[in-house]
């Protein structure tokens, strides 16, 4: 144990004495949060949609079949109790819900005017907005078809409600994204160069000729960056709450616990890279090109994963940031509890254990 603390103390000294790097590490999240204020537009295909048809008449069926025909939507479950909708949203199963009132057809025939309620999951405001527009235009098509040759026009009014983020703020979407990105960058890149640096400088040569335990070295390398990254999480959250005006709807403790897990996943990934490479440059390149790019592409933060071809969707599953992005979005914006995100948590946990095991196994106890 004494040895472990000696290692940790040494690692802290390495980190804290490198002032320039430290400045970048703490400055980066702040700058990124402020830069990513831009909304990002994107097209959405095959969004899961649930329909509650309380009318069950010809008029509602016609609209449903039009939606079914659209490539934008997949109907998740045709029959659903209105009470179940909320939970389906929370679990992230659906993006959109369509509710036909019981007297839909009657209203349309007698009053020439009927309403449909459209509920969208606006934790991702771009998607929600776009899906709302798609539904409206489908309904409009149906309305035009109905009105052909009619003297008195029928009007179908879609009542769109944005769930979770009624003002359609762009920020809730990118805060979890930036969080995932910054943590990924700091943790993977910094730890990726940490062990390989000892190999390059030659200190590993002395360290190897000592009774040290590889696991001890691996863990002690990660500890300072864990602390550093937690400080980054705090600063990102403070910025988003006080500067960007975004409340954290879920449990802050849970958010921290999940962030810690994600940080550890990335640290073990960085250490694995560090163990497998032989120069700081290679380690840096791999963590930058090999990690940052997939994180940006596959976390779902900039480009909706639903929209990608199937092979890419499958690849996205191995990107830790994807799972963390879902977790943070769920906690911060939807305010859900652990029950809704245990699967994602388990995936991250599994990745961490796997990477730690691989690092331990691959740790070279000799020079060549």
């Amino acid at each position: 144990m004494k040895q472990f603390f000696a290692f940790v103390r040494k690692e802290f000294a390495h980190v804290l004495r490198d002032r320039k790097t430290l400045f970048i590490l703490f400055g980066m999240p702040v700058v990124q949060i402020l830069i990513f204020g831009f909304a990002l537009t994107n097209e959405v295909k095959n969004s899961k949609l649930v329909i509650v048809d309380q009318a069950k008449d010809l008029a509602s069926q016609q609209i449903i079949s039009r939606i079914e025909a659209s490539r934008y939507f997949d109907i998740e479950k045709a029959v659903m109790d209105p009470a179940q909708i909320e939970s389906a949203f929370r679990e992230g199963k659906i993006k959109l819900a369509l509710i036909f009132p019981a007297n839909f057809s009657k209203d349309l025939m007698h009053l020439n005017r009927a309403q449909i309620q459209v509920i969208a999951d606006a934790s991702d405001p771009n998607t929600a907005n776009m899906l709302g527009n798609y539904v409206s235009s489908i309904i409009q098509d149906q309305q035009m078809a109905l009105n052909q040759g009619n003297k008195i026009p029928y009007t179908i009014v879609p009542e769109i409600r944005m769930l979770y983020n009624p003002q359609l703020k762009g920020a809730p979407n990118f805060v979890p994204g930036v969080m995932a990105l910054v943590l990924m960058l700091v943790c993977v890149m910094m730890t990726a160069i940490s062990i390989v640096r000892e190999k390059e400088v030659g200190t590993m040569e002395i360290l190897l000729v000592s009774p040290f335990k590889p696991l001890l070295v691996i863990i002690s390398k990660a500890v300072p960056y864990l602390f550093l990254s937690l400080i980054n999480v705090i600063s990102i959250l403070l910025l988003s709450v006080f500067v960007l005006d975004l409340p954290i709807n879920g449990s802050v403790a849970l958010l921290f616990a999940e962030s810690t897990l994600f940080i550890i996943t990335n640290l073990t990934l960085g250490i694995f890279i560090s163990i497998r490479t032989n120069s700081q440059q290679v380690a840096m390149l791999i963590s930058l090109m090999g990690m940052m790019l997939p994180t940006v592409l596959f976390s779902g933060f900039m480009f909706p994963i639903e929209n990608m071809p199937l092979p890419l969707q499958i690849i996205s599953n191995i990107v830790p940031a994807k799972w963390f992005y879902i977790i943070v979005k769920s906690i911060m914006i939807k305010g859900v509890g652990f029950a809704a995100i245990w699967k994602q948590t388990l995936v991250l946990l599994g990745m961490t254990v796997l990477l730690l095991g691989l690092s331990w196994k691959n740790f070279k106890i000799r020079l060549a």
Binding site: K2, F7, I206, L208, S210, A368
Partner: protein, 302 residues
């Protein structure tokens, strides 16, 4: 203490033979030197004995422990100072020393008597970071770190390379004091003049050992009578001597040319007359004892 039997090390796809069938043994409390130029295979031998590299052939034991099977025990009981300064540059003298003491499950206080003589010289700068130390101070610190866990065998790979002559002299005095504490020391150096400071030496070149003996025995075994000659025109002198009929070997050695002649020998007069015909004025002519370097050159020529 150390027993090396026919170890071999091969590198890379070209199968470069870095260490070729090397055998030697080191007794307890001995100061053993591996003497040879850069690329002779000294570092490879050190790395195999410190369990950092696996030999491709042969076997060796350190302290009775096999360098392949019992690498953990060896790592616990030896001190190693690599050729390149390998301490943490961003930690201070004190921090480096404390760190290595803790890694080896000991404290600086416990073995302070071992490093005291050396440490007091760098103690005034103990708060200074290792990266900011002079070459001599770095070596002292590295030696302290290698000694702090009271190793039974100390491996020092070219400890005096890149260190000024005064510090080099000091360093060898420190080694003598350590030897007095019954620590077995294996040291390598490219400097032939340091060879005489060892109890026994192995001359090594291109992965092969040329000779192993005490420095005195090695110099005594030099087969020829050696003569040092001096002239103002060194290159002309070497060229002329090379063409001298009775010459056996001649090479530059500092400001002198060292020459060995055939059995019959030569007189100063004979050489002087010959050189005059070549328009070279001989400034000095003296019989000398062969140094380790002369022996080394002699071995290479054979």
């Amino acid at each position: 203490m150390i027993q090396v039997n026919n170890i071999t090390k091969v590198y890379g796809k070209e199968k470069t033979l870095a260490v070729n069938d090397v055998s030697f043994s080191v007794k307890e409390g001995e100061l053993f030197g591996l003497i040879g130029p850069d690329g002779a295979g000294k570092t490879s031998i050190f790395r195999m004995l410190t369990t950092l590299l696996l030999p491709d052939g042969g076997s060796a034991t350190v302290n009775g422990f096999d360098i392949v099977k019992d690498f953990k025990q060896i790592r616990n009981s030896v001190g190693y100072m690599p050729g390149k300064f390998s301490l943490y540059q961003d930690l201070s003298i004190e921090e480096n020393l404390n760190f290595f003491a803790t890694v080896f499950n000991t404290t600086v206080e416990e073995n302070y008597h071992l490093i005291k003589d050396i440490y007091i010289q760098i103690e005034p700068f103990k708060k200074r970071r290792a990266g900011k130390l002079s070459g001599g101070m770095k070596q002292k610190l590295a030696l302290c770190c290698a000694l702090i866990h009271k190793p039974t065998v100390l491996f020092l790979d070219e400890p005096t390379t890149g260190v000024d002559p005064v510090s080099r002299k000091e360093f060898w005095e420190m080694l003598k004091r350590l030897k007095a504490q019954n620590i077995t020391i294996v040291v390598s150096t490219p400097y032939m003049d340091e060879a005489t400071l060892c109890d026994r030496i192995a001359l090594i070149q291109e992965g092969k050992i040329l000779s192993i003996d005490t420095p005195a025995a090695i110099t005594a075994s030099y087969p020829d009578e050696l003569i040092a000659l001096k002239s103002e025109k060194m290159s002309a002198l070497l060229k002329a001597l090379n063409e001298f009929p009775k010459i056996k070997s001649v090479y530059a050695f500092g400001e002198y040319a060292h020459a060995a002649f055939q059995e019959s020998g030569v007189t100063e007069e004979e050489i002087k007359t010959y050189l005059t015909t070549q328009q070279i004025a001989l400034l000095e002519f003296k019989k000398i004892e062969a140094t380790i370097e002369d022996c080394f050159i002699g071995f290479l020529k054979n």
